[in-house]
Symmetry: C2
Subunit: 391 residues, 2 copies
């Protein structure tokens, strides 16, 4: 009994966490409930299970299957479902007609061959990457519709009536879904993609802004005053690499909305996302150096502190400017000066590493982390420049 | 006309590539076609669209929707579909009975409220990560079944008859799917996961075995004799990090097969996979150093060549032993000696970096890559040791 209660509390906490993490989830659930109720009521007063009324059931089914979180996903699934039913249904009617010509004995054989061939072909087509990205669901519905129509024992005119009813019900279902999805606080996959890319770059900026001063703190300072916030956020970039592709596939289905037009260059976001990911790799390496708690000797610190801090700061500033120019959707002209500064700092570091003689008296092992950080930061400067070009 | 022909040739080539890449795709398509044909024939001689015969349609639908590539995915979807239909259908019958008590006016209102509440709750529950991983499809089918049953205009006894027919048809469909899926060249997600993890470690081993000698080649040698093979394969590890989670979720549904028992510790594979991924990060950094074409001076080379090559070779050997002990499923006792060797080499490198005075006369910039490689390889030795512990 006590275990059950603890379990309930746990579920409650998890629910609250899910809600707080993204309140849109609750809104989505309410929207789906509303849509389903509307469609059910539309069909409530019709007898649902009489001969052709069966197709009315498809409206309810369409809502449950097609209503997705983002508008793009809903449009994609809805169009896939409607057109796949239409075309594959037509094809199935043709196959049914052909099979019927061969008489009572030949008909099941011919039909089976048709079903087998279509099912094999379409299933294999689902493995093509370009089809999988946009039309996977449509392929499945095509197999379904073709089988339904071609194995049905109906006359040709009955089939056309059935098909017409079914397609129109599905269209109605999709339309209700889209109206509710767009009119009540719409969630655009494109907007999500845009925000996520900007947020990821902001995480990187946050890291670089904090990194320089954190690294050159003394060990005592660092422990007294642990500020791990700046160094944790970038990790979500490394975890979320697949989500952008999904959002991109949905965003391509979306009509123009907000400040995005139809056929907005969504692909560019993927490019920026990939570069951000690359940069997060380097950040991860830098962070591992930080947490190894290796103490620099005074001399080395004096030598590299200034250019390293400047590179880190200027990279952070560049990224911040990029974030704001992505958010406001203008050319990142303000970022150029910071790129220039960070490049200058990188040059300075290289020169000081080249000329300095002070290294001679110190242990080479203490040098490794400094050298690593130097080269990583130089890498990062390159990376930010590429991101700036892509914006 | 010519453009069309070129397009066709392109599609032909792509098809061939897909086939060669994994011939199982063709077999899967044939299997699905066969299953669908069998189920269609079972129902061909029954009138498909008479009053209760509608539920026969569900067998065809079940095959198309449930038949997935791996056995695990098929079992998961099939069980989800069958049990969700059973439970939600029962719940729907209860709701329908309750609503009917309130008379002709109250019934649609009560039913709508029930549908709304259930749809909202289950949709929100789909966001729970633990439910999403295993029961996402079941939640969707539950909403569907509940709506169908509760809004139907049937009498209670008719509902029970309908439900019984539908659930038994779905069970029949799932059983045919499973029989075909398991009896004709089954594709086990667990086996896939096992192979993929072993292959990934083998890619790492391949890299380390080639890396040492490749890095210490002179620039001329390297260009004359480009061997990029060993350095490309590891990249697939970085790209495929999501696939393992999917396979893991499927593998949990699978009964014992081959040398795997039911409840095989699949989670352990995810752990090894994550470590392999970490190690591939380092490999990526090492590879970037290689492609930067930085030439080492003679002295530095002489100093670090031996321990570095040994670390790389021994890490490679350790990983190879781990691969073979994963493949043969025994304890990796043979790997221990190589781990020991690579640790010794790492120690040697550290010592020689510490003691050597020869660095004093050379440019520090040329030192950075050497130092980086040294520290990365030391990291890698740690990594391989952790992988060995996890196996």
């Amino acid at each position: 009994m006590k275990g059950l209660f603890a379990k309930l509390v746990e579920i409650g906490n998890e629910t609250k966490a899910l809600w707080k993490d993204d309140p849109r989830r609750v809104i989505h659930a309410l929207k789906l409930g509303l849509t389903l109720t509307i469609v059910s009521l539309l069909y409530y007063y019709r007898p649902l299970y009489d001969n052709f009324g069966v197709s009315a059931m498809w409206a309810v089914m369409t809502v449950v299957v097609v209503f997705e979180f983002s508008v793009g996903a809903t449009v994609g699934k809805g169009l896939n479902r409607a057109f796949a039913t239409l075309f594959a249904g037509g094809l199935g009617a043709g196959a049914h007609h052909l099979a019927a010509l061969s008489g009572r004995v030949g008909q099941p054989i011919i039909t089976s061959i048709f079903v087998f061939l279509i099912a094999c072909t379409l299933t294999f087509m689902r493995f093509f990457p370009s089809i999988k990205a946009k039309y996977d669901y449509g392929m499945m519905i095509s197999i379904l519709s073709f089988s339904f129509v071609s194995i049905s024992g109906l006359r040709d005119d009955e089939i056309f009536l059935l098909l017409q009813k079914r397609v129109s019900t599905i269209f109605l279902g999709v339309c209700v879904c889209l109206i509710i999805s767009i009119s009540i606080s719409p969630f655009w996959a494109g907007q999500d993609l845009h925000n996520r890319i900007a947020l990821n770059i902001e995480y990187l900026a946050l890291f670089f802004e904090g990194y320089g001063s954190e690294y050159f703190k003394t060990l005592q300072d660092r422990e007294a005053n642990k500020d791990e916030n700046f160094s944790q956020s970038y990790k979500s970039i490394l975890k979320s690499s697949g989500i952008e592709d999904t959002l991109y596939n949905f965003a391509r289905w979306e009509p123009g909305h907000g400040c995005f037009q139809f056929r907005h260059p969504w692909k560019q976001y993927l490019k920026i996302g990939a570069l951000t990911y690359q940069c997060a790799f380097r950040v991860d390496a830098l962070h591992r150096n930080l947490s190894s708690n290796f103490q620099l000797s005074q001399e080395i610190r004096a030598e590299i502190q200034e250019p390293c801090m400047e590179m880190s700061m200027e990279s952070g500033k560049t990224l911040r400017k990029l974030v704001s120019s992505i958010r406001e959707m203008n050319q990142p002209t303000q970022a150029e000066i910071h790129i220039h500064n960070s490049k200058a700092a990188a040059k300075k570091l290289k020169a000081s590493l080249k000329s300095s003689r002070m290294w001679e008296n110190c242990d080479l092992l203490t040098l490794i982390p400094a050298a690593t950080i130097g080269s990583l930061l130089i890498d990062v400067v390159d990376c930010t420049e590429k991101i700036a070009e892509a914006v």
